[in-house]
Symmetry: C4
Subunit: 286 residues, 4 copies
C-alpha cells in the first residue's frame, strides 16, 4: 500500500537533510499532488500514459497497423522519449534514487521505456513490445490524485486481514479441482477429450468457477452426474470468499470510521460507541 | 434519485406563485399519484407504455411483422399520437416547462415519440425506430405508484456511499483484464484466434466475469494455465463488490431505521418499532 | 410458510368440535409427525415419492424404457393407486376436506395422481405424464419431519423482508436487458444471429447472468465492446441481491436468537444485549 | 476438524500410560509440528507428496509419458516405498495403531500406497493408479504446520452452524432443477437434444449455476423464455448461500474474538486487543 502512495519519495519541508531548492520544487511537481503544478503534471502524465497504452493496443490490430504503422511508430518514440526524460527527472529529484529505482513504481516506470529501446538492439523482438502495456499500472497513481487512496487501502486492508482464510479457501479449491479433474479423467477418458490430467484439471477449474467455456464437456451420463455435483459445489462455495471478505470489510470500515485518538495513550481505532479507551482506560473525547 | 420521484414537477398547494385551477388539476392527475385520478392515469399510462414496447418488440420478429406489419404500424401511430398529446399536456401544466423538458424524464418522454415522426421524414430510418424501446425507462414511474421509491433510494444510497470503493474495484478489474489480455495475446497468438489485443481483452473480460462464451478459448497448455489463474481470480474477486455493497447496504438500512436519541441516557440506534430505550428503559419520543 | 407446516390440518386435542376417534388417530398418523406411527408413515411416504419420481425419470430414458417399459408401467400404477388411497384418507380424516383439497399440498397431491388416470382416457397424452414429476414437491414435507421448518422459515422470512428491494432490483435488471438487447439488435443485426429483439434480449440475459452459453456471441468490434460492458455490469451487480439478502438474513437470524418474553407486555424479539423491554420499558429477565 | 489436527495421535508428556522413549521421540517427529525435527519432517513430507502428485499428473500426459515413462515408473516406486516406510512408522509410534489406521488420514495414507502395489498384482489396473492422486489430501497437514488450523476451523465452524440452512437451500435448488428440467424436456423435446429427463436436469443444473457450457441450449422461443427465467432465478438465488455463510461467518469471527467479561460492569464482547473495558474503563483480565 505504501507503494501506492509513493509519498515516501515526496520531500517534506520538515526533512532534516537539506536539498537544492530546484530539486525540492521539481520533487513537489513530480511526486506531490497537493500543489497546482503537481496536479497539472499528474493529469498530463496520466493522459500521456493512456494515449501510449492506446497506441500499443492499436498497433496490435492488423487493419489499423498496416496503413498507420509509421505514424504509430513515431508516436511510440515520442512517448518513450518523454517517459525517459520523466524517469530521469524522477531519479534526479528524489532523495534516494536507488530506493526509487527499486521500488514498485520505479520498476514499472523503467519497464515502460526499456522495450522500445530493446527493439532497436534486438531485431524481431517485436513481441517484446507488448510488455509496454504494463505502463497501464502507472495509472494507479491516479488514485492518489483523486484521493481514492483511503478507499484502496480499506479494500486492501480487508484483503490482508482475511488473507489466511482466503489462502485456506484457495487451497481447498485447488485440492477439489485436482481430485475432480482426476476423477473425470478416469470417467470420461481420452475418447471424450479428457486426454490428460492437467487438461481435466483445466476443465474442472472452468466448471468450478462457473466460467463454462464448453470447449470440453462431459458426454457420459456418469461424467455429467459428477460435473453436476461440481457445479453445485462451485455455485454454493462462492459464498465462502464472499463471506470472508464481507466480514473483514465490515470490520475495516467500522475501524476506519472512528478516528478519535486517546488522550491517555494516543492510540486510536476505538469503536464508535466506546466511552473509554480500551488500551489504557482513559475517558475518550466525545 | 430526485429524477425518479418527478415530484419536483408536482405543484403543491403551499406553492406561492398562483396557477390557473385547471392547470393545477391537470398537474395533479399527470404528475401526482396520491389522488384517485392520478393513480388511474398512471396505471393507464404504464399499460400503454408496456403495450407500445411490446409492439416494437413484435415488429422486430420477421414471422410476425410480415403478416401483421400494417396493424403494428397503426398501433404504433396511435401510441405515438397519444404520447405526443401526453407530452404536450405535461409541458402545459408544469410550472417550468423548460426544466421539465430538460429533465431525465422529459428527455425520455421526447425520445419516445420523436423516432416515429423522423421515420416519415427520413426514409430508411427504420433502424432508428428501435430507439423507441427507451420508452421502457418511462415505466420507472411505476415505482412511485407502488411506493417502492424508498427501497430504490436505499439501494441507490448504498451504491452512492460505496461508489469510490466500487470505482477503485472496477479500475483494478480493468487493469487486470488489460494485462491478462496482453499476456494471452503473446502466449496464444493469432493462430489460436487471439488476433489482436482488443480481442484478447474481450476474451479476458468474458473469462474474468465467469461468462465464458467459449467463442475464444486457450488451446496451448500455458494459455490454459494462465486462463485457469484468471478464472480463480475472477471467481474469488467477485467477493469484493459484494462485500462493499453488503457493508454499505447494511449501514444504509440501519441509518434508515431510526434517528431518535434517548432522553434518559442519550444513546441512539434504536429500532423503529421500539417505544422505550433498550439501555435505560426511558420512554422514546414518537 | 403455513402451507409448509400443513399442521393446520392436524387435529389438536384442544379443538372444540368433537371428531370420531378413528379419524383423530388417522389424522395423527397422516398429518402429524410427532408420534411414532406418524413418523413411520412420513418416512414410508417420502421413500414412495422418491421411488415414483425415479420411475418417471427412468421412463424418459429410451435405452431403459424400451426393455423395461412394462415393469415401469406396473410400478407406476402401484404408486398411483397407493397415492390415491392416501389422498382419500387425507380427505376423510381432515376436519375441512375442501380446505385441504384447495390448499397448496392438496393440489399437489391431486396433481400427482391425475395424469396417470388421464392417460387411460386420453390416448397419446403421454407427454402429460411428465406432470407427475411435480410429486417431488410433496417431498418438502420432509422438512417438517427433520425439524428443518425453522430454517426454511428464517430463509423465507429474509426473502419476504427484502422482497420490495428484490423486486426493484429485478425490475432494474429487466430494463437493462431490454435496453441492451435492443442496442445489440441494432449493432450486430440479423447477419450475426441477432435476428429479432426477443432473441437479442435472450442473449442479453444469458450474458448479464454470466451464464454465457456461447450459442449467440457478438462478432463486431463494437458489439464486443457493448457485451464487455454488460458482462462487467452483470458481474458487479450480482452484489445487489447478495447485499440485500445478507442484510435481511442477518436481521432475521438476530431476531430469532433472543426469545426472552417481556414480563410487562409479553412482547419478544428483543436484541441480545438489551436490558429493558423496548415496548413497555419493563426490565427484561437475564 | 479434529481429523485435520491429527494431534490426537500426538503423544503428550502428560499422558499416563508410559511408552518407550524412542516411540515418544518418533511420534514427536512424525505427528508433532512444534519441535525442530517435527517441522523438518513435515516440510520434507509435503515436498515428497507434491513431487509424487506431480509425477502422477505428468504420467497422464502422453507426450511426456512416452519418452520418460521408465523414469516416472522408478520415481513412483521410490515414493511408494518411502510412503510405505512412513506409514509403518506411523503405525509403530502411535499409541492406538488401529484408531490411526481407521482415521481419515490413516485411510488416505493407506490409499496413497496401495494402488502401486495392486498394479503389480492386477495387470491392466493402470486406471487404478489415478487413485494415487488422493495423496494430495495428505497435504492438508500443511495447515497444521503454518498454524492455519484456526482459520480452517473458523471457516468450517460457520459451515457447520449454517448447515441446516444450506441443506434447505440445496434441497430447494434440487427441486427447482428437477421441475425445470422436466418442463424443458416437454417444451424442447428430443429433437433439440433434450433426449431424456436426466439430460434435461443436467442442462438445468448447467444453466442454474450460471456455468453455461452451451453443449445443450434451448432453440424454441418458449424454451428460451423458460431458460431466461431460470437464469435470472439462478443469478439472484446465489444470494442465499452467500447470505447464510456471511451471516454465520460474521458470528463465528466475533465469537472467536473474545470471551472475557469485564469485572467492573460485567459486559463482554470486547475485541481481542483490548486491555480495558470500553463501557466502564475497568482493566480487563489478561
Amino acid at each position: 500500500m505504501d507503494e501506492l502512495r509513493t509519498s515516501k519519495f515526496h520531500v517534506l519541508k520538515s526533512d532534516t537533510e537539506p536539498m537544492a531548492q530546484w530539486r525540492i520544487t521539481l520533487n513537489d511537481v513530480i511526486f506531490g499532488a497537493e500543489s497546482k503544478p503537481g496536479k497539472t503534471f499528474d493529469i498530463i502524465l496520466i493522459i500521456a500514459i493512456l494515449l501510449s497504452v492506446s497506441a500499443v493496443i492499436l498497433e496490435s490490430i492488423v487493419s489499423i497497423n498496416t496503413p498507420l504503422g509509421k505514424n504509430l511508430y513515431i508516436v511510440e518514440w515520442v512517448f518513450t522519449i518523454a517517459f525517459t526524460v520523466e524517469y530521469g527527472l524522477r531519479l534526479v529529484c528524489v532523495r534516494h534514487p536507488l530506493k526509487y529505482a527499486l521500488s514498485f513504481y520505479g520498476l514499472i516506470d523503467l519497464l515502460s521505456i526499456i522495450p522500445t529501446y530493446l527493439s532497436l538492439l534486438v531485431p524481431g523482438a517485436n513481441s517484446l513490445l507488448v510488455i509496454r502495456i504494463f505502463r497501464i499500472l502507472r495509472v494507479f497513481r491516479i488514485l492518489k490524485l483523486f484521493h481514492y487512496i483511503r478507499e484502496a487501502e480499506t479494500l486492501a486492508e480487508a484483503m490482508v486481514a482475511g488473507r489466511r482464510k482466503i489462502i485456506v479457501f484457495l487451497y481447498f479449491i485447488c485440492t477439489l479441482v485436482v481430485v475432480f479433474g482426476c476423477v473425470m479423467y478416469l470417467v470420461e477418458g481420452s475418447v471424450n477429450g479428457f486426454t490428460s490430467i492437467p487438461r481435466s484439471i483445466y476443465w474442472a477449474i472452468v466448471t468450478m468457477t462457473t466460467v463454462g467455456y464448453g470447449d470440453l464437456t462431459p458426454t457420459t451420463a456418469f461424467g455429467q452426474l459428477i460435473a453436476s455435483m461440481m457445479m453445485i459445489i462451485g455455485y454454493a462455495v462462492i459464498a465462502v470468499p464472499t463471506g470472508i471478505y464481507t466480514a473483514e470489510l465490515s470490520k475495516a470500515i467500522v475501524r476506519k470510521r472512528d478516528v478519535r485518538g486517546c488522550v491517555g495513550c494516543g492510540k486510536n481505532g476505538h469503536e464508535v460507541e466506546s466511552d473509554y479507551c480500551r488500551y489504557c482506560g482513559e475517558k475518550l473525547p466525545e
